[in-house]
């Protein structure tokens, strides 16, 4: 039986600032031995279309005045792209990334359109089952 603690994230947002937060939280949780499941839905799923992250410069609307300076600071301080952080987290620990089947259908996205870090397509009920008894974040 799996006795690790669970740490789950509903990743709804597709802006770089929030994707970074999600990737960093995932890393911390994976490092501390949690079983991490990320459920990608809506804009979060669109951000995982193949190579989208390379050209994604979207930033939270609430803080759009910070978008330019924040991006510049991250580049100057060599902060890795969020996708790289996420891939490192997957090397270190147990991280599973699932795509929401409803969003896939809605936006006509096929499994082959997604980054290889996404390992399965899941319905919300399965994800809720996955989360049970652990910590769940909505980002």
């Amino acid at each position: 039986m799996d006795t690790n603690e669970k740490f789950s994230i509903v990743l709804f947002s597709g802006t770089v600032d929030k994707l970074m937060a999600a990737a960093t939280m995932t890393t911390g949780a994976a490092a501390m031995g949690k079983d991490v499941t990320i459920f990608l839905t809506f804009w979060g799923l669109l951000a995982f279309r193949k190579d989208d992250w390379k050209s994604n410069h979207r930033f939270s609307k609430d803080f759009e005045d910070y978008a330019g300076p924040a991006m510049e600071m991250m580049a100057a301080k060599n902060v890795p792209p969020w996708m790289t952080t996420l891939e490192s987290a997957m090397e270190l620990g147990n991280v599973t990334i699932k795509a929401c089947s409803q969003t896939m259908e809605l936006f006509n996205i096929k499994a082959s359109d997604l980054e290889p870090v996404v390992s399965e397509i899941s319905g919300v009920a399965t994800f809720v089952e996955d989360c049970e008894g652990g910590t769940t974040l909505f980002i």
Binding site: T24, T27, G28, A31, M32, G33, K77, N78, V79, P80, S88, A89, E91, L92
Partner: protein, 79 residues
């Protein structure tokens, strides 16, 4: 930390949270049991994150010492 032979030294200066911790974990995974790893971090989060991880991973936290605008953490792989 006198009298301790460091097997591997990691310079994680300029790497941001959780970068130094990630570099340490990667090294510990690749190391042999008995190896001693030192990591130099300027990230303030490391002060608590690195000891917390070492404790959770049940490795040995040998100690930490101040270095120029950074902290050097020393860890022994024991399992």
């Amino acid at each position: 930390m006198e009298g301790i032979t460091i097997t591997r030294e990691i310079d994680a200066l300029g790497s941001f949270c959780p970068g130094p911790l990630m570099e340490l974990i990667r090294s510990v995974k690749l190391a042999q049991v008995g190896d001693v790893i030192a990591v130099l971090s300027g990230d303030q989060g490391s002060m608590k994150d690195i000891p917390a991880w070492v404790n959770k991973a049940q490795q040995e936290f040998v100690g930490m010492e101040p270095a120029a605008s950074a902290t050097r953490f020393i860890i022994r792989k024991i399992r």
